[in-house]
Point group: C2
Chain length 406, copies 2
């Protein structure tokens, strides 16, 4: 255990804390900052001056307040000037966003990804190309302070290597390094699991703001999870924490891509639903329906009274509910968030999910539980990647900016 911080540590911490208020909460008056941070007015003024001089925030007179006396200046993030690149590599899409300080998506590019083996050269090339296009459209005084990517797979802590990505059909790919090289910005590219980053996004800017214990479940081809426990993202020893899709819920169940049987992903994933609904497995392998549209089609059919679709959703909802009940017993979360295609599945099977919860989750663990759908939708992974990219700036605002501008 190290000693407490030095004066320089404290200044750095306070600069970061103030910038985080502005970044996450938006424009805020000096008076409000004084009260929320518990610092005196002159310290707040010194901190905002430093951040203004660095070009990270600007101070403005507020609109007419209607109150007498000199109004308190409002501190705003320099969203148009300071930005990061956020990347998303999912089974069905490649996406890039240029995200300004404050979390504003300033620009974006997206393309469909064909399911098939992961070609590092090609995918990194497309993503870096998108980023270059966006950079050419920026004003000369803008500055990129970070870059991060969300990928559908397990990412080793520290070096951005995708260790396993069955739904991207890849493993052991030095993705962060390659994308960083191609971007040519002189910045490292942080890489994280997509569900982990979506959890972070919902916790920072979505339905889970101020919720210290939440579980975000992300569905695409598979089922991923991101867990916030006590306010912190659960990473695990090597960074692979949150792989709830490979929790076995039915030991006698369906084969899973991971080699095991009856994993939550095998019982609840896209393929399980589409097979149960009779939409795949019969003819034309390779041309079978897949992806979000195919899942939506089943939910829509169930809504219209299609019995087979209803039974398929009900079966999948039962397993989803059992999986959620297990997680509720283990984590005692305040909120479970359904994202990706699990949003549709949950909305179509909420009764099953709730009935399984009542059966398998202990009463004290679930009595204050809230079940919610993602507020950020398909942007959750990009928003989470942007937060990962901004993390360094928030930890040490002046140092990072000096490096990026110099």
């Amino acid at each position: 255990m190290r000693a407490g911080p030095s004066q320089e540590d404290i200044r750095r911490y306070n600069l970061g804390a103030l910038l985080r208020h502005v970044h996450l909460g938006g424009p805020i008056s000096r008076a409000e900052l004084t009260s929320r941070m518990g610092l005196n007015r002159s310290t707040i003024m010194a901190l905002t001056s430093d951040l203004t001089a660095a070009g990270l925030v600007r101070e403005e007179l507020p609109r007419e307040t209607g109150r007498a006396g000199r109004p308190s200046l409002v501190v705003r993030p320099e969203s148009a000037r300071v930005y990061v690149f956020a990347f998303d590599v999912g089974p069905d899409r490649l996406a890039v966003a240029r995200v300004g300080l404050g979390g504003v998506i300033l620009d974006r590019r997206e393309t469909t990804r064909e399911r098939g083996p992961f070609d590092l050269d090609e995918q990194a090339g497309i993503l870096a190309g998108f980023a270059r296009q966006m950079r050419r459209r920026t004003r000369p005084d803008t500055v990129c302070v970070g870059a991060a990517a969300a990928v559908s797979g397990g990412v080793r802590k520290g070096d951005g290597v995708i260790r396993f990505g069955p739904n991207l059909m890849t493993e052991e790919v030095p993705f962060g390094e390659e994308l960083g090289r191609r971007l040519g910005l002189g910045l490292p590219v942080s890489v994280g699991n997509d569900a982990n980053l979506a959890a972070l996004a919902e916790h920072s800017r979505g339905v889970g703001v101020a919720v210290r214990d939440l579980i975000y479940l992300h569905g695409d081809v598979g089922i991923g999870g991101g867990i916030i426990a006590g306010g912190h993202l659960l990473g695990g020893h090597d960074g692979y924490g949150g792989e709830v899709g490979h929790m076995v819920v039915d030991p006698g169940g369906r084969a899973c891509g991971c080699g095991s049987h009856g994993c939550l992903e095998a019982e609840v994933g896209e393929r399980a639903l589409l097979e149960a609904a009779g939409r795949i497995g019969t003819e034309y392998p390779g041309k079978e329906p897949h992806g979000r549209d195919a899942v939506r089609a089943v939910v829509d059919a169930a809504d219209r009274g299609d019995i087979v679709a209803q039974e398929a959703l009900s079966r999948v909802g039962d397993w989803l509910g059992l999986g959620v009940a297990n997680l509720v017993n283990i984590f005692n979360p305040e909120m479970v968030i359904f994202g990706g295609m699990l949003r549709e599945i949950y909305l179509g099977s909420a009764a099953q999910v709730r009935s399984r919860l009542a059966l398998h989750a202990m009463a004290p663990q679930r009595e204050r539980l809230r079940l919610r759908t993602s507020a950020l939708g398909d942007d959750a992974t990009l928003v989470g990647a942007a937060e990962l990219a901004f993390a360094q700036v928030l930890a040490d605002p002046l140092e990072v900016l000096a490096r990026a501008s110099g």
Copy 2:
């Protein structure tokens, strides 16, 4: 987000940090503290002077070092003077320990507990009586700075109410309040789940020291869990986190006391093993073998070649391995620790556990995983309760001591 700490906060933090070094690591020289805490010599001297004046530590000349020059003073915890009371309420025992600063068990009392409905008056009376006996044997200058209890059940964060304790046959009991009243020390009694506190103990002083991500599994009648994630105990929203015993591993499985089916506890707990081994369920209900000795007898019989016992252990080991695999996928821990009667079961079925792990846990999550048995054994819950009781002293050493002495 609040601002960084004040000078007074930093002094309090540094005093706590220094005391924590001495409390957890034992006697240590000033020179070593200087290097480990990253503070200069005069600051360390000022901090140790304050703690010495408060009677929390003492400084002594070291034994002959063989080196020239003035030796650095060694700082020791005042273990005989400053202590806490640690209580354990398990299905089969009531125990109290008087634990000195530094984690030394100075004195202890223990009695067998008959399985049956929980009588708050009686149990709190026995525990408070033990504590009084021990207090009478202390020197006049000793000071009790805290008290905490480990209980087999779910404890609400904040108020020490046992919300559910099926294995103690109780629920909704204001245990902390009642025990505090009977102790009459003017100190609140913190209460925690036994497996959570045993996890904390193994993390602080046992096999999991310096392991930031670990899962401790505790077996008695049921299966409890305590999870350290990123160095912090996973509490959950209301304090019921870690109830891994009620993760469903076999939806078609045995009925569980919680009302669900196929919980880990139902497939791996004491009753599952003894039934599979043909030792209970046939005659004399109420007089059936139970407890640690009955579990040990099955493991010993299997060791001697008893086929029925071997098959029972193998069956239970399979489910235990599946449960551990699920947790490894979810948490990516560095270590899983088997405690209570799970120590015996794991040692008797390690091959099954490992083979299930290989089948159901993803390779990257388990490649650096270590499986261990509890180092603290039956003392783990008491040691954990003592750490909970010391937590306040370590957070603010001078304030707590002033209050306890005054």
